[in-house]
């Protein structure tokens, strides 16, 4: 990637990050559980993913030696994501300023960036396992939000939690549909490599 392209990726990431830091934007996105989970945190992941484009080729080469099939990056991103899926994490990120900073730093740098760095290195199977788990998480969290009779977060209303649950289940369903479409009609580069060579033409 050229230096100029890297610079524009860094600029885009900085711009998105700054927009998310603007107090009215932050408050609006944290006023509901749905907006925090489905808009704010995904956009912070996006900031980290954009930062990947700003990395010099050397940094990518160094990490590649420690990231066989992208597994290290995926592990880091998954563990950090698990922390921010806890209902009490959403609460403290709103009530404790230090945890707000922890969220604003860890979500881009420990979820978005390592995931974007590792995704191109992942094999078909690693991607498959990830997607399965990713979709299952939407259903699990959505189901939890829907059936839980009390509020999971003290900072948010019960109706908000149930709406989030519906959205999570819907998104999980749509992801399933997309994957099925991809499986039926999509192209898989990693399959092309293992495709057998065409048989030799029959002799006359």
């Amino acid at each position: 990637m050229t230096a100029r392209a890297r610079l524009s990726f860094a600029g885009l990431a900085a711009l998105l990050y700054a927009a998310l830091l603007v107090p009215p934007v932050r408050h609006a996105l944290e006023a509901s559980m749905t907006a925090q989970m489905l808009v704010q945190i995904p956009l912070l992941v996006g900031v980290g993913a954009l930062l990947r484009g700003a990395l010099p080729a050397r940094a990518l080469a160094v990490t590649a030696g420690w990231d066989y099939h992208g597994i290290t990056g995926l592990t880091l991103a998954s563990l950090t994501a698990a922390l921010w899926l806890l209902p009490r994490s959403l609460d403290v990120a709103v009530t404790e300023p230090i945890m707000a900073w922890a969220k604003y730093l860890s979500v881009p740098l420990l979820i978005g960036l390592p995931f974007a760095v590792s995704w191109p290195r992942m094999s078909f199977i690693v991607r498959g396992v990830f997607l399965l788990e990713f979709i299952a998480t939407f259903f699990r969290m959505g189901w939890l939000d829907l059936i839980w009779p009390d509020r999971l977060c003290n900072s948010y209303l019960l109706g908000d939690q149930q709406r989030l649950g519906q959205y999570l289940v819907l998104i999980g369903g749509w992801l399933c549909v997309l994957i099925i479409c991809k499986l039926l009609w999509g192209r898989f580069d990693s399959l092309i490599e293992v495709r057998r060579p065409a048989p030799p033409p029959p002799c006359n």
Binding site: T72, P87, L152
Partner: protein
């Protein structure tokens, strides 16, 4: 050896991440703020401040005046039609069940309003609505700048406005020991848990 290095890095991350997750959930016990607050209080009782309160009769008291008695505290707002309906009923019920220790001066029930609109008059109406017997149960509002915020902070109460002009809050029964320490936070619809948290001598006088 990218495979071995990846294995090493991933295992290290899993160990560090496991510790972080364990720390963030109090050893995989508390996934919500509400559970965390209850565990925290049970393991590390909190000394309450001597906040000034105004009761339903207009009298001024301090939270510290209850030292020497067990104290059951709930947080309310008098316009509340959901949780507080249960809480008001629960406190009236506890007032009857615990009539003996209350009469002996060993126990006190206290409802604290977090709604700035609540006046002593409204607090008195609230108690009447739930058939207050007229002894051992006070309804009060904090007086003075910052008093409510301080109480909410110490008790771990989060109050958020709902979409209908009321509030939503984490409703519970808070048990305060005679030294003025918050020692237990319990679900509001489990009076048997409340009696278990109090000295055993209290429960001998219960009418089942």
């Amino acid at each position: 050896m990218p495979i071995l290095r990846t294995l090493l890095a991933s295992l290290t991350l899993i160990i560090v991440g496991g510790y972080a997750l364990s720390a963030a959930t109090d050893g995989f016990r508390a996934f919500t703020t509400e559970t965390a607050r209850r565990i925290e209080v049970r393991e590390h009782p909190v000394q309450l401040p001597a906040t000034m309160l105004e009761t339903q009769s207009g009298a001024r008291i301090r939270l510290a005046d209850f030292h020497g008695k067990w104290l059951l505290v709930d947080f309310i707002y008098t316009r509340c039609a959901t949780y507080c309906r249960a809480l008001g009923g629960e406190f009236a019920q506890l007032q009857r069940r615990l009539a003996a220790p209350i009469a002996q001066g060993k126990l006190q029930l206290l409802s604290i309003s977090f709604d700035p609109h609540d006046t002593p008059r409204q607090l008195a109406d609230y108690q009447q609505r739930y058939h207050d017997l007229g002894f051992g149960w006070l309804a009060a509002r904090p007086v003075g700048p910052g008093a409510l915020e301080r109480l909410e902070r110490v008790f771990g109460i989060t109050v958020i406005p709902d979409r209908f002009g009321g509030y939503m809050h984490n409703a519970a029964v808070h048990v305060v020991d005679p030294q003025g320490r918050l020692v237990e936070i319990l679900d509001m619809d489990r009076p048997e848990l409340v009696t278990q948290a109090l000295p055993q001598s209290f429960s001998q006088s219960f009418k089942p």
